[in-house]
């Protein structure tokens, strides 16, 4: 089995994280923002796996399980909120939801 180098694994995780962040920042649709957040979460999960493999520790994979559980919970809450926003504003544009403007 070919070992994937540690650095490349981390770079991929960083790249995914940056992609997710960029997605959150540039997309206006709340649904896409939520998906981008999922990508960021998975990027960090990947970083944990890679790090766990590098040092031969099981905690990396444990953390991934936690992250998955959190992501599932977050997705359910996030989708529920998105539904409420759509019901309230009749749109999913995040910039329209600016009632808290100072």
């Amino acid at each position: 089995m070919t070992q994937i180098p540690f650095e490349q694994g981390l770079m991929l995780a960083g790249l995914l994280f940056a992609l997710g962040l960029l997605g959150v920042m540039v997309r206006r649709n709340l649904l896409f923002i939520l998906m981008s957040v999922e990508i960021m979460l998975n990027a960090s999960a990947l970083a944990f796996v890679v790090a766990g493999a590098r040092w031969g520790q099981p905690e990396g994979q444990v953390m991934v399980l936690f992250i998955m559980a959190t992501a599932a919970a977050e997705a359910s809450v996030g989708l529920a909120l998105i539904l409420q926003v759509h019901r309230l504003l009749h749109t999913l544009d995040a910039d329209e939801a600016n009632r808290l403007r100072g």
Partner: protein
Amino acid sequence: MAHVLWLIPALPLVGFLFLAIFGRRLGENAAAAVAVSAVTGAFAVAVAETAHIVSGNLTGVQQTLWTWIRIGDFAPRWEFSLDHLSVCFVLVITGVGALIHLYATDYMHGDESYSRFFAYMNLFVASMLTVVLADDLLVLYLGWEGVGLCSYLLIGFWYKDPANGRAARKAFVVTRVGDAAMAVALFILATHFGTLRIPDLLQQVPHTWVVGQQIATLTAFMLLGGAIGKSAQVPLQVWLPDAMAGPTPVSALIHAATMVTAGVYLIARTHPIFEIAPTAMHAVAIVGVVTLLIAGFAALAQRDIKRVLAYSTISQIGYMFLALGVGAWSAAIFHFVTHAFFKALLFLASGSVILAMHHEQDMFEMGGLRKKLPVTFWTFLAGSLALAGFPLISAGFYSKDAILAGAAETNLWLWVGGLLGVGLTGLYTFRMVFITFFGEAKHEPHRLPSPAAKTALITLAVLSIIGGGLMLPDYMGGFAPLGHFLEPVLPTHEAGHAPMSEPVMALIASLVALSGIGLAWWLFGTRPAFLERLQSGAFARGLDRFMLGGLGFDTLYDFVFIRPFVGLGKLNHRDVIDGVYEGTAALTEMGNHEVARTQNGKLRWYLAATAGGAALLLGLAIWG
């Protein structure tokens, strides 16, 4: 008997409180009854106390009420003391005060603030009695400020006219200058002696300080400052003529008979301090002479009858200061007593004239009132004779002679100044009499004095004529009950080297007074045409304006003090100190606006800012 001493100031105070609380619900008669009986009651108590002192041959009675405040060793007490000096003042304040209250019941008839007037008058009497009865300088100072307050309230009594308010403020501010000086004197005495109790101070001062010591001179000058402010002497005399804006009984009681002589009382009371400060004593005499001459000249040109009387008051108090300055203490008190009689009388009589003339105060609008208002005329004449010092039959002649005799023994120039003042007094007094009561009648009088007013006028007229019997000069038998009475408190005047004998001086003074009166008769009684020709020149008109304005003191003060002050005020219209605080507030508000703009409600913007911040922190952690 001493246990009722507190009643003397308390009765008018109760009258004030009663009128202040229930005044609105009382009718005119009830309010007048309360006020007059309060002052008359005080007079009765004062008479009883005086009888007690005289019959018991006592030097005075004292009553300690309670300790006012206690700060370490400094514990001023509410203590009243009636000695031979304060007896004179208390009797005049309550006696003349009661007559003026009686007169005012008629004068103020129909005024919408009838009870307010009497409330203030009673408060004034209570404060003034506190001044003269106080045994502690701090209590005296309280009364001193109290009379100042009442003076302010009563000058501005008809407050709907802004000019009256201005006059009241002027009086308050100008006397405050003197009061500040007096406060400094109190501070000096309190720090050096640890007490302000008058008997203790007067006993300690001559032993602690030596004659001519700087601190003694300073204290005496500061006390003199207070006296000058309250007694309207040069250079703080400018408030008194304007104080005539108040109702005429106020002018009679406060601005002629009592309050303005508080300065005389203060100096007489603290005379041991002045005796160890010869420079201050000379200053008192010089202030007196300068004042009596300046005010005499200013009185010559006035058109308003009350302003003539105001300047004559300033001038007569100048005589009292002259007497104090040359150490003729009892002469000063004698003149205070007679002056209270005849000046109160003149003011009340002029009040009757003013009422009869529909509140017209310009003498040149009156004329010919001799037949129309006989009682007023004859009483006014009695007062005028006393003011002018008409020989033998007026009280003013004897008191003024006593002062002039004292002055002549000290310094001939002081005597000459005083003598010139006698001539001026005769001239301006009878100018007023001839213009007001003689000549052709210009208007019909519309209101005659009531029986109450007549009672007050006639009583005061009798006192103005016979008051001289209180202290006759040696050449007339030397019957001087007042002089002997004052001996325990005030040292008798040491006979110096007079340049001539007393009868000769009295003769000269009489001739000067008579020639002043004669000149007035010649100018204003017989030859108005000649007078008009005399007054038509440009120089004469300018001089008239100058004297009408009180010899330019108001203009001078306006130029030296008021305008620079107002200018500074305008310059600093937007307060520099305020700018610091307002700037801070503006800066904070601006910061708030800027920061609030970041709260734009855009989720993606917040996130970008968070990511940027996180990147910055990471960068700092790695490379910083």
